[in-house]
Symmetry: C2
Subunit: 197 residues, 2 copies
DNA sequence: TCTGGTTTCTATAGACCTATAGACTCCGCG
DNA sequence: CGCGGAGTCTATAGGTCTATAGAAACCAGA
């Protein structure tokens, strides 16, 4: 991709983050050892410490990698001029496809970030809140526009959208041939109209 | 409760399972040590092995404890003669309130069961499948009755109901003064009618 | 009080894990 | 060729973890 502009160090570090993400995702933060990560990366255990100050820092980097571009996408969706339904569809698409594109790092963000000490979690918290608040804003706007029912609690709605996407994310990670488009359609259909006739 | 009918061993073991559940829920299976569990129970680390053959067995027992009565409740809901809406409400109520009543064991079942080796997970799998299938059956029936739209995929619907409940379950465990009734109402409202006007 | 069973304790073996220190290899450049 | 830095390796200190073995405490009934 942008190989020429990245140093060998950056490239290798990105690989290391991916390896850590994969191990953390499948075994959990505490269940994955630095030896496991190193083995996946094809180096010796001690060599990891050339790229990470500590295992905890590796987790932090994976989490950041997992949520960053994802928040940016959310900002773009919130700011574009699309109607509510399109925004919702785009949100779900973005969220679900993250589970494929960013190599399990989002799953790690969701499941393992709580194991970080508070001071290291601060940046993450801001990113996560930013995401939720953008989504809430989209719902507030839709309520004001009369597209969403006035009695809907936008905080509940945003959390639930995130929750549904994360819940299906677990399935996506585990079942590689799930049809994401179909799943996205079903999710937005539920969110908009429910199951009742 | 039924203290007279239970031996001292059974009582202490139940306490041990609860302690293990609490530790596994807050630190994860690998992050919680047998020493932590013992400390919470008020005994020495080695003493745990009087009740559990291994740490893994402790996890298994916690998971079983977490899902058992919950499946039974689902069976009762599926079999009662109530209309669909009432069944759905009861399902969500049952699921969400489990996160309070059974002391985090359901959370452990959801988040940590994958760390069990396949042979120990078999029983759990059956219980989990039973749960999902009952829920699917409720949706199939509702579709047949014309209460739920014919184009709804009952498998997707069941998984999503479970996913939403689990997602909110995480919040419930972390925030003790969430209003469960209100939350249940909002969830069923979403599931039935969606957010759109 | 003595006895046998139940429950808990102490102590430890043996494994594994993180992080560090210092040596080694590789490669671009003068 | 020789140098210097980047990246990787080996080896290990120091800690924690699970599981076990055997001693000790407790308790009910004869």
């Amino acid at each position: 991709m942008n190989a020429p502009s990245r140093s060998r160090y950056d490239e290798q570090k990105a690989e290391a983050v991916k390896a850590a993400a994969a191990e953390f995702a499948s075994k959990g933060y505490h269940g994955a050892s630095t030896k496991d990560i190193a083995a996946r990366l094809g180096v010796q255990q001690g060599s990891l410490y050339y790229y990470f100050r500590s295992k905890e820092d590796a987790l932090l980097e994976v989490c950041l990698y997992g949520i960053r571009d994802y928040v940016q996408r959310m900002e773009r969706i919130a700011a574009d001029g699309q109607p509510f339904e399109a925004k919702l569809f785009a949100t779900v698409t973005s969220h679900l496809s993250s589970y494929r594109s960013t190599n399990e790092a989002l799953k790690v963000y969701n499941d393992e970030r709580l194991y970080l000490p508070p001071e290291k979690r601060r940046n993450l918290k801001e990113l996560g809140s930013a995401y939720r608040e953008h989504l809430e804003g989209i719902f507030d706007q839709a309520i004001a526009d009369g597209v969403v029912r006035a009695d809907v609690d936008s905080h509940f709605a945003a959390q639930t959208v995130i929750g549904i996407c994360n819940a299906w994310g677990d399935h996506i990670v585990r079942e590689p041939d799930l049809d994401l488009f179909d799943l996205t359609r079903k999710c937005t259909d539920l969110l908009l109209h429910g199951f009742a006739r």
